[in-house]
Every structure is written in C-alpha cells, then in structure tokens.
C-alpha cells in the first residue's frame, strides 16, 4: 500500500510560458497578414517555371482579363477605352505602380496585347504576368 502511494509522482508541464509563445505567434501572423483586397474575376492562370515572387506588396494594381474579354482593374469593370484613363489616374496617384496582369490562359493574345498597348500609353510600364509556379521538374 505504501509502495503504491510513492509511485504517484507529480507530473506537471509548466504552462506559464504558453501565453508568451502564443503572443509571439500572434504578432508574427499580424505582421505577415495581408488581407485580400479585391474580388477580381475568375481566371485560370497559366503555369510557368520562371515564376518569381514579386518583392513589393503595396504598389500593385491588379488587372484581370477573363476568357470572355472582360477587363477589371482593382475591382472595377472597365471597357478597353477606359483602361487608359483609369491607369493614367492611378499613375498620377502613385508613379511606382506595378500592374499585375491576371489573365486567363484561354484569353486571346491580341486582346491582351491591346490592353498592354493601353498600359504603355498610360506609362504603366512595369508589368507582371501572373502565373502559377511550376516546379522545374514538371512540364
């Protein structure tokens, strides 16, 4: 009987530092989080092996072109003729913008080229063709 009592050792995990650890994680996620700003259009991006991460996050203008040739700039549906004034306005506000082209892989290239011409006119020269990353072994 006495022996059994002795075997009841007190095993306790110190939990005092859990809050600190959680706080650290919380701060990490708070810093890293960038809320999705735009709804966009439903597009299927093409995949490419030379996909690179864009180092900036704040100066990006999103431009979607979907399969049925609809254009959307930062969640505003625009026509081809409106691309230039809208982009010009954005360049006036922030000359360092990068246009991220989220184009459906089934879109017609001629249409995309036309949009790029409008971007050139508005002096939005830094573009980024959004792609899905493809590891080097595939494809």
């Amino acid at each position: 009987m006495k022996f059994k009592e002795k075997a009841k050792a007190e095993a306790r995990i110190p939990t005092a530092s859990v809050a600190d650890i959680v706080f650290l994680l919380l701060i990490f996620f708070m810093v890293v989080t960038v809320f999705k700003q735009y709804q966009g259009l439903r597009v299927q991006l093409p995949a490419a092996k030379s996909t690179q991460k864009l180092e900036v996050k704040r100066n990006i203008v999103h431009l979607w072109i979907d399969r049925s040739n609809r254009i959307n700039i930062d969640d505003v549906i625009v026509s081809m003729g409106e691309v230039y004034p809208v982009m010009y306005q954005k360049l006036q506000e922030n000359p360092a913008v990068i246009v991220s082209l989220q184009v459906d892989k089934g879109a017609e290239y001629g249409y995309v080229a036309h949009v790029m011409e409008e971007l050139k006119k508005a002096n939005a020269l830094r573009v980024n063709f959004a792609t899905l990353s493809l590891s080097r072994g595939e494809g």
Binding site: V22, A48, V103, K105, A107, L125
Partner: protein, 136 residues
C-alpha cells in the same frame, strides 16, 4: 492598535485578472491563422518600352520567335518544339550576347501559348526580351 487595523483595511490588493488573457490571445491567433493567405504575388515580371520610342536595332541582333495561333513556335524559319526552345535560345545568345529576343505572337493565339513561350525565353537567361504588338 485600532488605528493600525484601519490602515490595513484601506490597502486592498488591486489586481486585474489575467487568467483569461491567454484565451483572448489564442482567439486572436486563430483568427489571424485563418485569415492569413500567404500566397504572395507571383508571376513573370517585364518592363514595357515607353510608347513611341523606336530604337534602330540591326537585324542580326534580333532573334525572332514566332508563335502561331496553334501555339507552334518558329525560330529562324524552323519549327522548334517547346522543349527545345530554351536550348536553341541559349545557343544563339552564347554566339551573340547582345541578342534581343523578339516574341511575336499571333493575335488569335491563346494567352497561355505566349506565356509558356515567354517562360522558356526567361529560363534561357535572356535579358533583352521584346514583345511585338500584333495588329488589332
């Protein structure tokens, strides 16, 4: 004696309960965990030339890469398979480091064809890439 008793009465221990702090932080943590999307902007970056700026380039410094509406690739009058394109461009650049790759895509071609060709050109290490504008 009585005075001392009173004094002890007016120094109560003031404490903010912190037992629930951990729970609150946990809740916030879970919120940020759920809402965080770590997928950064990815893609192929390119700088377009300013409009109206035409630079005379001698034709021997240009390598035209044609992509037709079916996605077939033509380089120097020969059809090149997509898998070989990287190698072909690399060879041409090693022969002439000042070579400009001009990607000419049919306007009826799918965007995907242009991107996958551009991908190969980028992979070959070409720095000077030009996107020709089709008539529209």
């Amino acid at each position: 004696m009585e005075f001392g008793n009173v004094k002890r009465h007016i120094t109560p221990t003031i404490e903010i309960p912190t037992a629930s702090l951990g729970d609150i932080v946990f809740l916030l943590l879970i919120f940020f965990l759920v809402t965080t999307s770590l997928n950064a902007e990815k893609g192929i970056g390119l700088t377009l030339p300013p409009p109206g700026e035409e630079v005379e380039v001698s034709s021997k410094n240009i390598l035209n890469v044609y992509v037709n509406a079916a996605g077939k690739i033509l380089v120097k009058g020969e059809i090149v398979e997509l898998g070989n394109l990287e190698q072909v461009i690399r060879e041409n650049i090693s022969r002439n480091p000042r070579l400009i790759i001009s990607l000419k895509t049919d306007k009826k071609a799918k965007y995907e064809y242009m991107v996958r060709t551009l991908d190969k050109i980028k992979l070959s290490g070409a720095k000077k890439i030009s996107l020709a504008v089709p008539e529209f």
